[in-house]
């Protein structure tokens, strides 16, 4: 039996291991990922087993990580880059946006760019500045990248393997505050597709969308709402680029109401795009505007304030109430 209870972090670790076993061209690169096993231990033990050429402790320079990954990809490798924390992806931004995202198009398909950029993202861990951000909208606005966010150990285990196997660059967002959450993972199962959203709880009154760390929060809200007789349908978006909104449209056509939840600042967060699309597609079904619950349009605050900054169960329920009151 290959079903076992795994934390999200351990699931990633095992997923990476399997990807490395399956394909000798997979190379991990990042700061402190080798001997230390990464600051979150996601790559624990991998350098020991696969060697320093396949699990590379890099110099401390994110542009260097992404830029050399481009060259490795051109040479037929499948680099998997770890960015230590969300807030440290920006030194690599030029390589990511002007090179990684554009080289396939620039070369009209002649240059492969199967790079995975793993980023622990989001807040809630009581950290100092730059360790709690949610930069996903920057990536989702960048044509040429694909962007996924996992929310649970099962998706983490399969998702990382699927992202590595994908022929396009994938920004792979890991909900750092859920690294220690556990679930049962069947490692012999056949996974569903990576670039697909999923209804994770059925309901009739309001459709609530989330991804990454907020999926758990929304599921808890749905639980609480159920106790008050409100039935929320919860969709785990999973893929942020491309968006897979067909299941959402189906749901909203039934419920007539939609709430999107994310930690990232509200303005031009994923919720904006989803609201625009859902409204355009389901205009005549909507009984209320799509409402958004997000971080405020401010830098991520000092950690003593993060509970007030981050969407929580109450703020989700508040939005549900407001939607229903329309």
């Amino acid at each position: 039996m290959s079903t076992e209870t795994l934390s999200l972090g351990k699931a990633l670790n095992l997923g990476l291991r399997r990807a490395m076993e399956d394909d000798p061209k997979v190379v991990l690169m990042g700061e402190d990922i080798g001997r230390l096993g990464g600051v979150f231990r996601i790559t624990d033990g991998l350098q020991k087993d696969f060697g320093e050429d396949r699990v590379v402790d890099t110099p401390l320079a994110e542009a260097g990580i992404l830029g050399t990954a481009v060259g490795l990809a051109m040479r037929g490798y499948r680099p998997v880059c770890e960015i230590q924390f969300d807030g440290f992806v920006f030194p690599a931004y030029n390589q990511l946006v002007t090179q990684v995202a554009k080289i396939h198009a620039r070369s009209r398909g002649k240059l492969p760019m199967p790079i995975v950029v793993r980023i622990p993202f989001g807040g809630g861990i009581g950290a100092v500045e730059h360790h709690s951000e949610s930069p996903e909208a920057y990536f989702a606005h960048t044509a040429g990248l694909k962007v996924v966010a996992v929310s649970n150990p099962v998706d983490a285990y399969w998702g990382i393997q699927q992202a590595i196997a994908a022929p396009d660059p994938v920004v792979f967002l890991e909900p750092k505050r859920r690294y220690w959450e556990k679930a049962s993972v069947d490692r012999d199962a056949t996974p569903g597709p990576l670039f697909a959203s999923r209804v994770v709880r059925g309901g009739d009154d309001v459709t609530v969308l989330a991804y990454g760390p907020m999926v758990k929060t929304v599921l808890q809200a749905a639980e609480a709402a159920a106790e008050e007789g409100r039935s929320l349908e919860v969709v785990d978006l999973r893929t942020l680029s491309p968006l897979d909104l067909e299941p959402v449209y189906d749901s909203v056509r039934r419920t007539g109401r939609c709430v999107v939840v994310h930690e990232a600042p509200l303005t031009l967060g994923l919720g904006a795009e989803i609201a625009a699309r859902v409204t355009e597609t389901c205009f005549h079904s909507l009984e209320a505007p799509v409402l958004r619950v997000g971080g405020y349009d401010t830098p991520y605050p000092p950690s003593k304030l993060e509970e007030e900054y981050l969407p929580d169960l109450d703020r989700v329920l508040d939005a549900v109430d407001r939607s229903l009151a329309f």
């Binding site: 001997r35 402790d57 000092p302």
Partner: protein, 376 residues
């Protein structure tokens, strides 16, 4: 026997220590050996009074005491994290004391020792690590910039500030701190280019503490870091970072040169991070305990104490008084941290802009109304 041989000699006998990172002559500037013996150096002489020496010792000791207390407070859950300076006291106090009041320092996140020399209240540093704010001190009044967490970013700030000093005709300098790992960041190298191109009065002070979290120097450079400077056309100096006198002398000279229009200098302070990277780190995963043992023999405080004692510049009463002062400091800091009020929720909004925007004012109002809803 040269200064350096003396310095390294004490390390060799440690059983099991491979002490892999010891510099070879003639690169290291040293004025005080690990055993507390004063040396002369042709380029970097220094004249320190007994008072000054004692006050350097006091700074070193109090800064360490603060650090120890902060680590304890973190263990007890009162701080979210703490980045210890243990072992780097001399590098930081030496560099900080070389500054004049009108100079400006640009720290990373570990320069508590420099903060101390700028009269920054330690509580204003600890509030950052507690998560109450992002540093409570006034960076312009103290001439000590806020901590910068994004590795290396402050080096360009310091250079730009120095360009401002130039335009003001001010005879002051900027002092940028960085780590060994930071030297790999593109922005840090750009700062060297800017500084030399504009002959800016900025000094780069790199604490080579042997690690960037778990990563040793082999991953950042295959030549000693101070040699990086020559390729950019600025002088590079390697100083014993555990020798407060040498650091003071070298940094003073570099700052003076900068103020006099002679342009930037790159200083590599050769030191060792005796603690973990931060309280979240587990150094046993990547380094041998014997390495630490070897470095303990090069402790930056012990040598000053040895020198003061042996030369009769301080007596046991002095050391006891500093110890007592340290305990008082620790008690004050502990009390201060425990008594820190949590910030008001509205602080999330209030300093994003100098001129608040209407949409953000609206979010703020909704935030207030929402939380009032809970209270009522």
């Amino acid at each position: 026997m040269t200064a350096l041989q003396q310095a390294t000699e004490v390390v060799d006998p440690v059983p099991g220590a491979d002490a892999p990172h010891l510099p070879t002559p003639p690169d290291l500037v040293q004025l005080l050996t690990p055993e507390g013996q004063r040396l002369e150096h042709p380029d970097y002489s220094i004249d320190v009074s007994a008072d000054e020496l004692r006050s350097l010792y006091r700074d070193l000791a109090l800064v360490r005491r603060w650090d120890v207390e902060a680590t304890a407070l973190q263990r007890q859950g009162e701080l979210g994290i703490w980045a210890s300076l243990l072992g780097q006291e001399a590098a930081q106090v030496g560099a900080g004391r070389a500054l004049r009041p009108d100079d400006m320092a640009f720290p990373t996140y570990r320069e508590h020792g420099v903060a101390w020399t700028r009269d920054v209240d330690p509580l204003h540093v600890m509030s950052l690590f507690r998560g109450s704010d992002m540093g409570g001190w006034d960076p312009l009044a103290t001439r000590f910039n806020l901590y910068t967490v994004v590795i290396g970013a402050q080096c360009l700030h310091a250079t730009g500030y120095a360009m401002g000093l130039q335009r003001d005709g001010a005879e002051s300098a900027a002092l940028a701190f960085l780590g060994d790992g930071a030297t790999s960041q593109g922005e840090v190298n750009e700062a060297l280019i800017w500084a030399t191109t504009f002959d800016a009065p900025v000094v780069f002070f790199c604490q080579y503490n042997q690690y960037a979290i778990s990563v040793p120097i082999e991953r950042q450079s295959n030549v000693p870091l101070y040699q990086r400077a020559a390729g950019f056309g600025l002088p590079g100096v390697r100083v014993d970072g555990n020798d407060v006198l040498a650091v003071l002398a070298v940094t003073r000279a570099a700052l003076a040169a900068a103020r006099e229009g002679q342009g930037p200098t790159f200083i590599e302070a050769f030191t060792y991070r005796m603690g973990a990277h931060t309280t979240s780190d587990d150094p046993t995963r990547y380094r041998l305990a014997s390495e630490l043992e070897a470095w303990k023999l090069r402790d930056p405080i012990a040598r000053v104490k040895a020198y003061l004692s042996r030369s009769g510049l301080a007596d046991p009463a002095f050391f006891a008084a500093v110890d007592a002062e340290g305990d008082e400091l620790a008690a004050r800091l502990r009390q201060g941290v425990l008594g820190m009020a949590d910030p008001a929720g509205t602080e999330i909004f209030d300093s994003v802009y100098a001129e608040m925007t209407p949409p953000l004012a609206q979010q703020r109002a909704e935030f207030v109304a929402y939380h009032q809803g809970f209270e009522s």
